[in-house]
């Protein structure tokens, strides 16, 4: 099913990127990339993080100027000095991080950059929104302030914005990263409808399942080069191999859990954020040694705050947290660390890792102040260095020198540093939030194995994840959170659609009934 690169046909119509090269300093982000997009197709651009997908699309959208190659639309060579030129040529883009001004209304966002007169006429803006909404059947309230809208609706606004000047080609950069399973399904329907209307759609992703579900054609990028083109029928393993460049084991092999005694007990925990919203609302659960409890839920339903409160990083309003019998309620992170909590924060760059510190220093951030890494008030640099060299080998952290700055590492390797730091000591519980977000397939495999190994050592593992794949691969039990509450705690073999509906707030029984009522079409599993 995988065709060699060379036989891509030349087309008179459509959009072609010919031999696009883009360098940042000495780093070649795109190396003579060819890509052609035809009207009326969904073209998936598949590749790991850092493979050059977004760079390529930013070149196409006029945000970057290519160092070589050309863009051809319907036979005519184009030069896009800025996004405005690209838009004028019929290209629309939906960015991974939405390009919406959060404090503006939908209508204001819609007219921004193409305001008709000197004085802002919001009536016209509202009319545009309504008209586009009706035409593409994407309902949205023109007067709603963007930050008040759920993420799926914000994305709808982005799509409408991209379509506003009759875009013939629509680029979507990792559009599913922030969506619920239901929202993803809806997006797929919308994209298929747009395709049937004749739009050429570029769908950038690193999720194999989505590619198989929606792509008409697939182009795989690796390290800035096109390494293959594939038909939609290609298996996930084949695609993964193409993407990573070696055989990848997509299934995590793990033994059945043998839960030991309960280690982490959370009772009636209630937590508010700084604005006073009750984001964790009377949650109770237990995690035993030797099991992985996955906290599943759509982003923003209180999971992050739950993890932060366990660490002692957010004040607890009521309830209690106990670890191996020690009371950790409303404690400090230091107390939690001493009691044996390993913590992998959700936002690695922001909370887990200091880019301007060396890799060796990053590896002892949780223990630099006591032996063996400290001698009295001084750091024991030799011990810190030795520790770093040992962990580099054990965790396969790809860096020539542990004295390099943390910021020199790729996302996957930075995450390995965080995990190595947390797992390199005796733990009672590991609390990990989104440990594989922004991490490439190869590193995910490794991180998953390490987490399972930690479980098998008898550590209680609480894993917060918004990715159903990850939940299915790792969980021994699944706790579904919705609006700060526990919807239910279910077994790992709960069907995906039931989990999806529970993440939208249905109870287990309702979800099962709904799933049974709606006939599934065999699906892709």
């Amino acid at each position: 099913m995988i065709r060699p690169v060379a036989d891509e046909a030349e087309h008179g119509t459509g959009l072609q990127l010919k031999s696009i090269t883009k360098r940042f300093g000495t780093f070649v982000a795109n190396d003579a990339v060819d890509l052609d997009i035809r009207p009326g197709e969904i073209h998936c651009l598949l590749g790991e993080n850092g493979a050059g997908k977004s760079t390529l699309m930013n070149v196409l959208y006029g945000l970057y100027q290519p160092d070589g190659g050309e863009i051809v639309i319907d036979g005519a060579v184009q030069h896009f000095a800025n996004p405005k030129a690209a838009m004028a040529a019929g290209i629309g883009m939906v960015h991974q991080h939405f390009m919406l001004v959060e404090v503006f209304t939908v209508a204001e966002n819609m007219i921004l950059g193409r305001e008709p007169g000197l004085v802002v006429d919001l009536k016209a803006g509202r009319a545009t929104v309504r008209e586009l909404s009706a035409r593409y059947n994407l309902p949205v309230d023109p007067d709603a302030v963007v930050e008040d809208l759920p993420v799926g609706v914000q994305q709808r606004v982005e799509i409408l914005k991209a379509l506003a000047n009759d875009a013939a080609y629509l680029i979507l950069d990792e559009p599913t990263a922030v969506l619920t399973p239901q929202e993803i399904d809806e997006l797929m329907v919308v994209l298929q409808r747009l395709r049937d209307e004749g739009k050429g759609i570029v769908f950038i992703t690193h999720k194999l399942r989505e590619v198989r579900a929606i792509a008409d054609r697939i182009t795989v990028l690796r390290r800035g080069r096109v390494v293959g083109r594939a038909e939609p029928g290609t298996s996930e393993n084949e695609l993964a191999q193409l993407m990573v460049g070696r055989a990848v084991d997509l299934t995590v092999s793990k033994q059945h859990a043998e839960p030991g005694p309960v280690r982490l007990e959370v009772e009636n925990l209630t937590v508010t954020n700084s604005a006073g919203a009750v984001v964790v609302d009377g949650i109770s659960f237990e995690v035993a040694g030797g099991e992985i409890l996955c906290v599943a839920g759509v982003q923003g339903n209180g999971q992050s705050e739950l993890a932060d409160a366990l660490l002692g990083n957010l004040p607890v309003l009521s309830g209690s947290v106990r670890l191996d019998g020690h009371d950790l309620t409303d404690g400090t992170p230091k107390r939690a660390i001493i009691a044996g909590m390993g913590f992998v924060p959700e936002d690695r760059q922001h909370d887990g890792f200091i880019g301007s510190f060396t890799i060796a220093e990053n590896l002892v951030l949780n223990r630099f102040d006591r032996p063996p890494f400290a001698k009295g008030a001084a750091l024991d640099l030799e011990a810190i260095n030795g520790n770093a060299l040992r962990l580099r080998d054990e965790f396969d952290i790809r860096t020539p020198e542990v004295q390099n700055l943390g910021s020199s590492l790729s996302g996957g390797n930075a995450q390995k540093v965080v995990l190595a730091r947390e797992l390199s000591r005796e733990l009672a519980v590991l609390v990990a939030s989104q440990p594989t977000r922004g991490v490439d397939v190869g590193a995910i495999e490794f991180l998953h194995k390490r987490i399972v190994a930690e479980r098998d050592k008898g550590t209680a593992v609480m894993l917060v994840s918004t990715e159903l794949e990850e939940v299915e691969a790792l969980a021994d039990r699944v706790l579904v959170m919705y609006r700060g509450r526990v919807v239910g705690i279910v077994g790992p073999d709960t069907p995906r659609d039931v989990l999806g509906m529970m993440m939208a707030g249905c109870s287990y029984d309702e979800a099962v009934a709904l799933a049974a009522a709606a006939p599934t079409e065999g699906g892709d599993r």
Binding site: L63, Y64, N82, P83, K84, H95, H97, F98, M99, V101, E102, V103, F104, N109, I111, L112, G113, R114, E115, L118, V119, V120, P139, V140, L149, P150, G152, K161, P181, Q182, I184, E186, R209, E210, A213, T272, N273, S274, A275, G276, A277, V278, V279, D281, N301, G302, P315, R483, G484, R496, D497, G500, M501, A504, L514, A518, T520, E521, G523, D524
Partner: protein
């Protein structure tokens, strides 16, 4: 059609729902509420103590002695009024501390407490004195004193809405004041002096713009440096050039009040609002102009977009750097006008560092005014009121050291601000240089 997750639910697109969590008081909010209550309570107690040193009648003159229409002088019984004010403060404090005040009421309680502190304090100071407290002078002086603060605040609002933090309002004031004095002295023309001031303000703004927008220098550090630069240059030129020739170079004309026909005759309001200099009128008009520019024009929409989410503006074809340049330069016009106040707008002559921190008070007004032109101007008026009151009270000969007098109004400010202003949110990209 195959679906990615095989999930089938009733469409979510019909009702875009929000994740609305129950809201309770967070720990931070609780702490803020209790400390506000405690502060108001302490001030209330101070007022209660002052009741015992209040004797006689406090008189407030609503019009000055020369006004055509004489309004009556209000006489308030000293001790009872101070006592009532003290009780109001203590009630407001109790309200805050008990936590039983619903949202709107806590705002009201803050306002009441602020007013009660001011009135109680004034009554105590004026009670038993021969001279009445001149209310008309106080209010007219408030508007006059607040003029540079309003203009400076507008400068800050426009710049910061576009994402450029401006700590250099003080330096822009100083340079503009200097330019106005020199040009005014040489030409003996007020319009020429104003023009020179605006030019100087814009010039200093362009220094800010070059380093903040083009060279991505940290904007707070940059602002401090510009202030030092302005102080150094004007000080040097003053010593070397102006001082030796002060008859030619430091004798600028000053603005006369221009009464507006009919309106100026209104009792109380007339002298306060309609017998002012052209600069005061310009400041008031500028508030409306800036509001309109920011919230009703294409340019304003772009300025705000660039200050909130520059990448978003960039992707729809707006040049972030150009819009920021425009905003900073336009902001310079207002700081230039504000600077002119200190020389041609009031005393006419320049002296070293004569702006004495007004630029920083304007900056405070920007932040307390939540980056909104009208609110920021209101805050500037509030500061003007405080400064004016302090100078009025000194003439009343109160038994308390004058430093204390100068302090208490600021406490009132803090209380009012704590009660009125909860969450402030700066433009999201304020102070962050934009690079691709």
């Amino acid at each position: 059609m195959s679906s990615v997750h095989d999930a089938h639910v009733p469409s979510l697109s019909d009702a875009p729902e929000q994740l609305d969590f129950t809201v309770v008081e967070s720990r931070d909010a609780r702490r803020a509420r209790l400390s506000t209550g405690a502060l108001i309570g302490v001030v209330g107690l101070v007022l209660a103590v002052l009741v015992f040193s209040t004797s006689g009648v406090a008189r407030f003159a609503l019009s000055d002695a020369f006004a055509d229409v004489q309004l009556p002088t209000i006489e308030l019984p000293g001790a009872p009024v101070v006592a009532v004010c003290a009780v109001l403060c203590l009630l407001a404090a109790a309200g805050f501390i008990s936590g039983r005040l619903p949202g709107r009421w806590s705002m009201l309680a803050g306002i009441v407490a602020g007013l009660a502190v001011t009135l109680g304090f004034l009554t105590w100071a004026a009670a038993g004195k021969d001279l009445p407290f001149p209310v008309a002078n106080q209010l007219a002086g408030t508007v006059f004193t607040a003029t540079p603060l309003i203009l400076g605040a507008l400068c800050g609002v426009v710049g910061e809405r576009s994402g450029v933090v401006n700590v250099a309002i003080e330096g822009q004031f100083l340079t503009a004041a200097f330019a106005a004095a020199i040009v005014g002295s040489v030409t003996q023309s007020i319009p020429a002096a104003l023009f020179a001031a605006v030019l100087a303000g814009v010039l200093m703004a362009s220094v800010l713009a070059v380093f903040a927008i083009k060279y991505l220098v940290d904007q707070v550090v940059l602002g401090v440096v510009i202030n030092l630069l302005a102080s150094g240059i004007t000080g040097f030129l003053f010593d070397q050039l102006v001082q030796p020739n002060s008859r030619v170079l430091n004798s600028a004309p000053t603005m006369d009040p221009i009464p507006i026909p009919l309106l100026a005759e209104l009792p109380l309001i007339g002298p306060v609002l309609f017998q002012q200099t052209i600069l005061v009128y310009l400041a008031i008009v500028s508030v409306v102009v800036v509001w309109f520019l920011l919230f009703r024009t294409r340019w304003g929409l772009r300025v705000r977009a660039v200050g909130e989410h520059p990448e978003a503006a960039d992707t729809v074809g707006i040049s972030v750097k150009r819009v920021r340049w425009q905003a900073v330069l336009v902001a310079g016009i207002f700081s230039g006008l504000g600077g002119a106040f200190f020389t041609v707008g009031s005393v006419g002559i320049f002296s070293k560092d004569l702006t004495v921190g007004n630029g920083f008070i304007a900056l405070a007004a920007v932040i307390m005014g939540r980056w909104h032109p009208v609110l920021a101007a209101t805050m500037a008026l509030f500061f003007g009121f405080v400064v004016q009151m302090a100078s009025q009270l000194q003439t009343l000969n109160t038994p308390v050291p004058s430093q204390f007098l100068l302090m208490l109004p600021y406490i009132a400010t803090i209380i009012a601000v704590a009660g009125l202003i909860g969450r402030t949110r700066a433009p999201a990209a304020d102070g962050i240089p934009y690079t691709k």
